[in-house]
Symmetry: C2
Subunit: 157 residues, 2 copies
DNA sequence: CATGAAAGCCATGGTAA
DNA sequence: TTACCATGGCTTTCATG
């Protein structure tokens, strides 16, 4: 059982690696790559889906080619940290599609997020009209990315 | 022609939105959602792929369920900014799978990146043994994410 | 108990009109 | 754009280690 579990885990990890890199592979292609049968691959993927390990299949889009070539790291401190105020700000974050990522942070800033904008003027408008005019935003700091050195959605498994 | 171009652009944008949300949709399902024929959808997607707008199809994995529940924002300043030294550091970044994103930044820090770790101890080991022992790293600052408020790969289109 | 092999059904992609 | 056809993948069943 130890061997079979190890084998299964290794198979799962290899499947996760492959699917994170290219989710368009067929079960047959995956089976060939991991050295298993298509049926076994199908069952494992289904188990990984049902256990919540495998999330959605998404298509990545080139940011520069759709006019979102500028990434800005924005840090924000709130005026009030009451639960309802925080929820209000987080709802604002979810409602703004140019905010791709937002993390609640330890340290001097409450939130850190990544915004994609068309250009500097576009970002300035977003900052002034959306963020700084939000009633619960106390202070903010913006840092522009000069280039994207690395971006991957693939977690190490 | 103006109308047809506008229609095409709107169709493309809607296709991009749908594919960014769920790349497992069939051409038939996409066609139904955007109110076009499957053949038209197929040709537009093919054009978007060849123009480089549409990137790879990937499967997202739940970080916490694969033991990568801790996100850390790491900022780094280099000792030397010579081209070759920068390339060396960026090669290091590409070689470390726990670094999911890395941006070359304006401002006081040279690079900002997001690292996923199993826990604080795991991150400490990564920081000490990998980052701070890198010959070209001068200073660094780490900020732990308390929670992921938002994470999406979907650009606004 | 999980895997591998085999087969049928079905949906899909691609093409022709 | 619509309709068609051939291709291939998905899913189940059964036998096996």
């Amino acid at each position: 059982m130890k061997d079979s579990n190890q084998g299964a885990q290794s198979l799962d990890r290899r499947l996760l690696r492959l699917l994170q890199a290219d989710a368009s592979l067929s079960h047959a292609a995956l089976a060939e790559q991991v050295g298993a049968s298509p049926a076994s691959v199908w069952r494992r993927i289904r188990a990984l889906e049902q256990s919540g390990v495998l999330g959605p299949t998404v298509r990545l889009v080139d940011a520069a080619r759709v006019g979102r070539g500028v990434s800005v790291m924005l840090q924000v401190r709130l005026r009030s940290h009451a639960a309802e105020e925080r929820r209000g700000f987080e709802a604002f974050v979810h409602g703004r599609p140019e905010i791709l990522e937002c993390h609640s942070m330890s340290g001097e800033w409450d939130y850190q997020m990544r915004i994609v904008a068309a250009d500097v003027a576009d970002y300035e408008r977003f900052l002034m009209r959306e963020v700084l005019s939000h009633p619960n935003v106390a202070t903010s700091a913006s840092h522009f990315a000069l280039s994207q050195v690395k971006y991957t959605t693939a977690l190490p498994v």
